[in-house]
């Protein structure tokens, strides 16, 4: 990986998001920093409850606020801070510059509104198109996302579309106004495998055509490897490791990443090998641990791990990790993922 010269589109610094509930404050995201370059596809991976969705949804305030609340942080998008924007300013950003695709295409389209009208809404609002222009553009978008006979489909309701087609419809809605950033929150989780592949191909294809940056959130490492150029691994509301696809898949540094990779079946492994689950449960975000959130489940945990969160350590120019094993005084641990791979 050479030096990436593309401009930074979104630069998030020290973002913390909490939910105020009756039971107390849930610290879902705790001071994360990351960036997305122009035209880049960034993957965020982590298990349920690791804060990946909350991170991106909080940026354009798609979370119900309250109970959600951005505690700290800035998110510079095109030179403006999303966190400080008023509702009105955000409305003009949502759908036109930052769009989202959601997990469940069966529920994310309005069942009582024609698919075409749902695509047209954004166009009429952001691009001040007339109904007729918007309709033509909507047909064009449906064709672009690979829906046959779009002239007919545009007047149909979501229930007349299959799951995969609905997700294509969602992509058409999201990309209609040619956004600079597309946030896809588990876009293929609810689809079956063949459709998954089609939707991912479509997203990659459109990303190249429209030069959109993508943030892809998933718990599926296969999906990340397929689409993303760079990966962030999240756990317990914190970033654990960050690097290019090659860094994270071939030179993973964090024990949590090792665990994730070991729990995925591999086609190239001929030996009958058991998948190794990560033992234990995720941390309680009502009172997150002082130290590394993964320490309780980490087989390499040292006393320091439970007391203090490690600093970011750069492994290479593109690759950084938050782990005490990187410290000079830490014991030398052989990376079990690389070790385990049959040579």
């Amino acid at each position: 990986m050479g030096k990436d010269n593309r401009k930074i589109l979104l630069d998030v610094k020290d973002l913390s998001v909490s939910f105020d509930t009756y039971a107390g404050e849930v610290q879902a995201v705790r001071g994360n920093s990351f960036y997305v370059r122009k035209g880049e596809a960034l993957g965020i991976v982590g298990e349920s409850g690791s804060g990946k969705s909350v991170t991106v949804k909080s940026l354009i305030k798609l979370l119900p606020m309250p109970p959600a609340r951005i505690k700290t942080g800035t998110a510079m998008f095109n030179g403006k801070d999303l966190v400080k924007m008023s509702d009105k300013q955000l409305e003009s950003i949502r759908g036109s510059e930052i769009s989202m695709i959601f997990q469940d295409p069966m529920t994310s389209l309005n069942p009582t509104m024609k698919v075409g009208s749902q695509i047209m809404e954004g166009l009429i609002k952001h691009q001040k198109m007339s109904k007729k222009e918007a309709r033509e553009k909507a047909i064009e978008m449906l064709r672009l996302v690979g829906i046959p006979t779009p002239e007919k489909r545009i007047d149909q309701y979501p229930h007349e579309f299959s799951g995969g087609m609905r997700q294509r419809g969602m992509i058409a809605i999201a990309l209609a106004c040619n956004p600079k950033l597309l946030v896809a929150d588990e876009p293929t989780t609810a689809l079956d495998v063949t459709i998954q592949a089609q939707i991912l191909d479509l997203m990659k294809d459109l990303q190249e055509k429209m030069e959109t940056s993508i943030i892809l959130i998933t718990h599926d490492l296969g999906v990340i490897a397929d689409v993303a150029e760079r990966v962030i691994v999240m756990y317990g509301g914190l970033i654990m490791e960050e690097g290019s696809i090659d860094d994270v898949f071939y030179r993973p540094q964090h024990p949590y990443t090792w665990g994730l990779l070991k729990s995925v079946p591999r086609l190239d492994n001929k030996a009958k090998e058991r998948l190794i689950p990560i033992e234990g449960t995720p941390p309680d975000l009502f009172s997150p641990p002082e130290g590394c959130p993964f320490a309780a489940r980490c087989e390499y945990a040292m006393p320091i791990c439970k007391e203090q969160m490690p600093e970011r350590t750069s492994v290479s120019e593109t690759h950084s990790v938050f782990c005490w094993l990187q410290h000079d005084m830490a014991p030398n641990v052989v990376n079990p993922v690389i070790e385990g791979r049959g040579k």
Binding site: D104, S108, P111
Partner: protein
């Protein structure tokens, strides 16, 4: 669509027939008969009357007579008001009952839905608690209490409106208000619950993610979807409101049909019981039919023309 309507109509007729049959046999299974309350009636007179109403014949024959009359749209003579037919009594009382009932329901449902929307938009705010307070009050306090309260304060204390009677539009206001109270309460709750549910759904987040303003999201995406469950209640409400309310009618002296429902049972007035039951069930069945048709208008998934 046409075929569906026809099929529904057929089913409705069967439903009404089943209700008529069940009511008929259940009524005859109750001990006592219409003439047993008249003590000291000479046996000859009793015989004559029984013969007139076919009460001396076996039950199945009586049933056959009944169904025959029913097919002619004839509900028979009242056993208590011996010179009047059930049809004419229902028709005489219906306009007053329907006027009070329908007006009360329409006003109640509209105000209720409006309050429900307000409550949902101010979820957990002051207005929400106020609406829910009104709703719980309206649902848990019986209508005759409200009727008496309105009567006392507006009629007796303030002298704004007549306490009771049936002599003009002025006399409508208090009974309609009492009738509306219950509908306001229940529909405010239905609508609020429904709105809150829709506002938390994925497609509302999608709509927001398109950059629509809050108002646009509510008007274009929430209201229509939130009204789908409400429609389930509208049809039956429509039906039951037409036959009016016994309690409200007797408190305000409305010459409606409400009193027949109670009196006929007390007096073993077979034909009247059957008449009122059948009349109500036809209205309820029609009410559900209207609800089903309305569904199709609001929700394309339930549209029936395919």
């Amino acid at each position: 669509m046409g075929r569906y309507v026809l099929k529904r109509f057929g089913l409705m007729i069967i439903t009404v027939w089943v209700i008529a049959t069940l009511t008929f046999f259940l009524m005859h299974a109750i001990p006592g008969d219409p003439l047993s309350t008249d003590r000291g009636m000479p046996p000859e007179v009793r015989k004559n009357i029984e013969a007139k109403y076919h009460l001396d014949k076996p039950l199945m024959i009586q049933y056959a007579y009944y169904i025959k009359d029913l097919l002619h749209g004839d509900l028979g003579l009242s056993l208590k008001y011996k010179t009047r037919t059930v049809n004419s009594m229902l028709m005489n009382g219906l306009p007053a009952s329907a006027k009070v009932g329908l007006l009360g329901m329409l006003i109640g449902v509209s105000v209720g839905i409006f309050l429900g929307i307000i409550a949902a938009l101010n979820n957990k705010g002051f207005l929400d608690y106020l609406v829910i307070f009104i709703a719980i009050l309206g649902m848990s306090v019986p209508s005759f209490v409200f009727a008496s309260v309105y009567q006392y304060f507006i009629g007796v204390k303030l002298l704004w409106l007549p306490v009771a009677g049936w002599e003009g539009p002025k006399y409508l206001i208090l009974p309609v208000a009492s009738m509306a109270t219950f509908y306001i309460a229940s529909y405010a709750r239905y609508m609020k619950t429904s709105m809150i549910e829709v506002m938390g759904s994925d497609y509302v987040v999608t709509a927001k993610s398109k950059g629509l303003s809050h108002t646009a999201v509510i008007i274009k995406h929430v209201l229509r979807n939130a009204s789908v469950p409400i429609i389930t209640f509208i049809g039956p409400s429509l039906a039951t409101s037409i036959v009016g309310s016994f309690v409200i009618e007797s408190i305000f002296g409305v010459p409606g049909i409400g009193k027949f429902f109670v009196d006929s049972v007390k007096q073993y007035d077979y034909t009247m019981i059957l008449g009122t039951t059948l009349f109500t069930s036809i209205l309820v069945v029609l009410g559900y039919f209207i609800s089903d048709m309305l569904y199709g208008v609001v929700d394309p998934r339930i549209r029936l023309d395919k």
